[in-house]
Symmetry: C2
Subunit: 335 residues, 2 copies
């Protein structure tokens, strides 16, 4: 059986209350007693039970995180940054990896509620009515990181996806490309689906480029999806000279596909990514990408959440971070 505060008290010859005082660094304990208590703690190897502590303090120092895919470079980087911030603020992370598994998400939201987590971070926006309702019901601060759900009542930390996509497309246009393929995300996603698509459309239209239906495809942000859609783009009569994929993973897939068709990036086709994940520097050619400040996104997420938890309501629901075009090797002027 674990040693408990009572044992420490007995061993040190003081009351339980005094031990508790020493543990929590309160005043009103003389140094000699404090020393005796600390010795006892040391000797018995006592570690206070956070469970009991949480119960009486009504505070768990727990934060629940729902990640769509742990193995994705993008999400794991955000998570890593979130973990740093959490640890620095003495919060612990309960993580759930829902790989497209909607049931698991529902289950975990319940677990989070039962565990009395103080806040919840969600990194995807495909929330159905049931989940939306549940989130509202449980009355725990929730923040969306890197995505923004339709429901305006939820806080979120994002970039301006529309503008970022607009800027990325514009850059390709400025390089002289007349035809620019687009590999988008799920149109049911507002943030990364619709907004990025609109940005692309409007940049094209504003600059007098015609939108070709054949050049526009929608994937699921993953490498394989980028590969397959690129294959389709290459199969049409006059493939675009540049391709904008709304995730680095899909951009990588596209690059691989292009190479597998004996074409070169960027000489034959320029490829632009989105996210600024670690991948961009690991692949050859290095990937020009519309970068989200991933690290900062994690930090900002925790920042806002911690404020929500401590009761300081955030004035606006959204924190919009700056996107940044990082030019590497995968895009070049149209010759």
């Amino acid at each position: 059986m674990q040693v408990k505060i009572k044992d420490v008290a007995k061993h040190a010859g003081v009351s339980v209350t005094t031990v508790s005082r020493v543990l929590n660094g309160e005043r009103y304990v003389k140094d000699d007693l404090k020393a005796k208590v600390n010795d006892a703690i040391q000797e018995l190897g006592y570690a206070p039970s956070q469970i009991a502590r949480s119960l009486v303090r009504n505070k768990t120092n727990l934060i629940g995180v729902i990640v769509p895919d742990l193995t994705s470079s993008f999400y794991s980087t955000i998570l890593s940054s979130i973990e740093d911030m959490a640890s620095a603020n003495d919060y612990n992370l309960l993580v759930c990896n829902i790989s497209e598994n909607i049931d698991k998400e529902l289950k975990y939201l319940n677990v989070f509620q039962e565990m009395r987590v103080e806040g919840i971070i969600i990194m995807h926006e495909k929330i159905n009515e049931e989940i939306r309702h549940l989130i509202h019901k449980i009355n725990i601060p929730v923040i969306f990181s890197s995505v923004k759900p339709l429901d305006q009542s939820f806080a979120s930390v994002i970039v301006d996806d529309y503008q970022a996509s607009y800027d990325a497309t514009k850059y390709l246009i400025e390089l002289g490309h007349e035809t620019i393929g687009f590999i988008g995300g799920d149109l049911q996603d507002i943030t990364s689906g619709q907004n990025r698509y609109s940005g692309y459309r409007n940049a094209m239209a504003d600059n007098g480029k015609t939108l070709v239906d054949e050049h526009i495809r929608f994937g699921d942000y993953k490498v394989r999806s980028g590969y397959l859609h690129m294959k389709e783009l290459l199969s049409i009569e006059r493939p675009p000279t540049a391709v904008f994929a709304v995730s680095d993973d899909m951009a990588l897939g596209a690059m691989n596909c292009i190479r597998d068709h004996q074409l070169r990036v960027p000489e034959d086709i320029s490829v632009m990514g989105f996210d600024g994940s670690l991948l961009t520097e690991l692949v050859r050619p290095t990937l020009t990408s519309m970068e989200q400040p991933i690290q900062e996104m994690g930090r900002a997420t925790m920042d806002v959440l911690l404020k929500q938890i401590s009761g300081k309501k955030i004035p606006t629901g959204d924190v919009v971070l700056e996107h940044r075009l990082v030019i590497r090797e995968s895009c070049q002027p149209r010759i």
Copy 2:
């Protein structure tokens, strides 16, 4: 304030005990009462407090995980697999990302103890005396995943790193390579440092290849490290015609370096990786690699840990999984 079991009891007109019985699916509750209780739970939106439950049951359903680097494809894949198994067995994961930060590890081990986690998973082997001592002291089942520390008293799930490395090297030898560069890990690591190095050495010696000091280098498993060490290998007079890096990340770094020097993989230099991470299929050329069964490793880890937790002591401390050479494009016969 949260609604509690007492409120449910009052609302349903029964005793607290009865509500608890319904919650835990015990017998001895008549159907009509059960229905009334369930209605009350529904109406009040009651979720039982795991905190209180844990306290009285002396069981938290929590498992602590210490990951060296969340952003690494290898670790995040193991973690993802561990999470799946945990979730399936109604366990929740408390994750800690220690990026070379030894203090953070110490801190988290304490947190794990205070949180009364039922088991701890550690994915690195650089544990110093203090940590070793602490782990022994806290008396919670601990298992090492993908690594095996010197201390034989700890359980672990690994591959036979020596043999895997031996086999990988032998494959390169069989391809006709006379000179094979080696980019190893930290020699202070038993599993991935020493064992893999010995495997390489012995495979070379057993097949009459001379070991060239200049061809042997030691990195830190990361992409950048592979790049830098490959640069050194390329700077010597007669670079090896094949290179074996003991992580896929380093192998990728090596490939990038080779390409940046206007050489081709595998035509000029063959590159062999280790791990079988997702990267292997994402890069071009695809990476031949000595694959660890990453998914299974996560599963086996949880499997053993759960048995340890339930008190069924595991006969042997180690579970050794099968490694497998997966031949892709990055290695070819020496011409």
